[in-house]
């Protein structure tokens, strides 16, 4: 039976993972775009992304475009698997029979 992932279960991190797993396997999303879409501050997003990176669920790539720094975020295979297991665990909770 799939288990809930305590790292992913946090509301902001759940939304981060929900977003990045929709991309193609080698596709990355810009940090600023993610921030706007999730409606969080730089610091808030940065802290949660750092946590997910430490867990090995996402990777960051920092680059320069027109001499301005840009950070791209991508889900790892491990992160995709962990997210899938977490979703399965949530679905299992809904479908399990209520205790009498």
């Amino acid at each position: 039976m799939a288990q809930l992932d305590t790292i992913i279960h946090q509301p902001v991190r759940l939304r981060i993972m929900a977003s990045v797993v929709t991309l193609e396997l080698d596709e990355q999303v810009d940090f600023s775009t993610l921030k706007k879409l999730l409606d969080v501050t730089d610091g808030n997003l940065g802290a949660h992304i750092s946590k997910l990176e430490q867990a090995g669920y996402i990777v960051l790539e920092k680059t320069f475009v027109d001499k301005k720094p840009r950070t791209f975020v991508k889900a790892t295979g491990r992160g995709r698997d962990a997210f899938t297991d977490h979703v399965t665990a949530l679905q299992d909770i809904i479908t399990r029979p209520e205790p009498k």
Binding site: T6, P11, S19, D26, Q28, V29, D30, T33, I93, R96
Partner: protein
């Protein structure tokens, strides 16, 4: 971790809503900027052709050069990219062979031999590019936009040849511009 079924359902709802918003926003990305840019270029370009085919053609060529430069600048700030391809999308590379085949077959059928036919040819090929982007990049509105533009161009060419340029300015450029303004709200 104890999670009730209501909390689990709320979590799944958040995931669904987040993914829907994310996909829409990424699909529109800076596409809205490009559609607004080329919609304006199409509108003013074809309007100038209707007024004066010679000077309008020169004006339109200048607008196209400006459009290409701005398109390159916009593309450098795209919100997503393929890690293995740098800033170039895998899906976009698959467009070229299909586009080449379409362009050759359509040129053989249409046989553009005057400026108006050349306009029809270029506009319908652009429409096909939108259709391909819609299919390969899974962006439904681009698929429909491409088909609608192609249909409107052909209606204008065969139905209103005297006012073809004005028709294309309004319904070709205008449709592209309107779509860009509409999807801008998704960001």
């Amino acid at each position: 971790m104890n999670v009730t079924s209501e909390e689990a359902q709320a979590g799944l709802d958040v995931i669904q809503e987040t993914q829907n918003r994310f996909k829409k926003a990424i699909a529109s990305g800076y596409t809205s900027h490009l559609l607004i840019l080329w919609g304006l270029i199409g509108f003013f370009g074809f309007t100038s052709l209707q007024i004066s085919p010679y000077w309008g053609g020169l004006f339109y060529a200048c607008l196209d050069i400006v459009g290409i430069i701005l398109t390159i600048l916009i593309a450098r700030h795209w919100p997503t990219r393929s890690a293995s391809q740098g800033d170039t999308s895998q899906q976009m590379k698959r467009i070229w062979p299909a586009l080449l085949i379409y362009a050759l077959i359509w040129a053989w059928i249409l046989k553009p031999s005057d400026p108006m036919q050349a306009c029809v040819y270029v506009c319908t090929v652009c429409g096909f590019v939108y259709v391909l982007i819609g299919i390969l990049c899974r962006v439904p509105f681009m698929f429909w936009l491409g088909n609608i533009i192609t249909l409107l161009i052909l209606v204008g060419y065969y139905g209103l040849p005297t006012y073809f340029y004005a028709w294309t300015a309004l319904f070709g450029g205008g449709t592209v511009l309107g779509t860009g303004l509409y999807i801008r709200r998704w960001r």
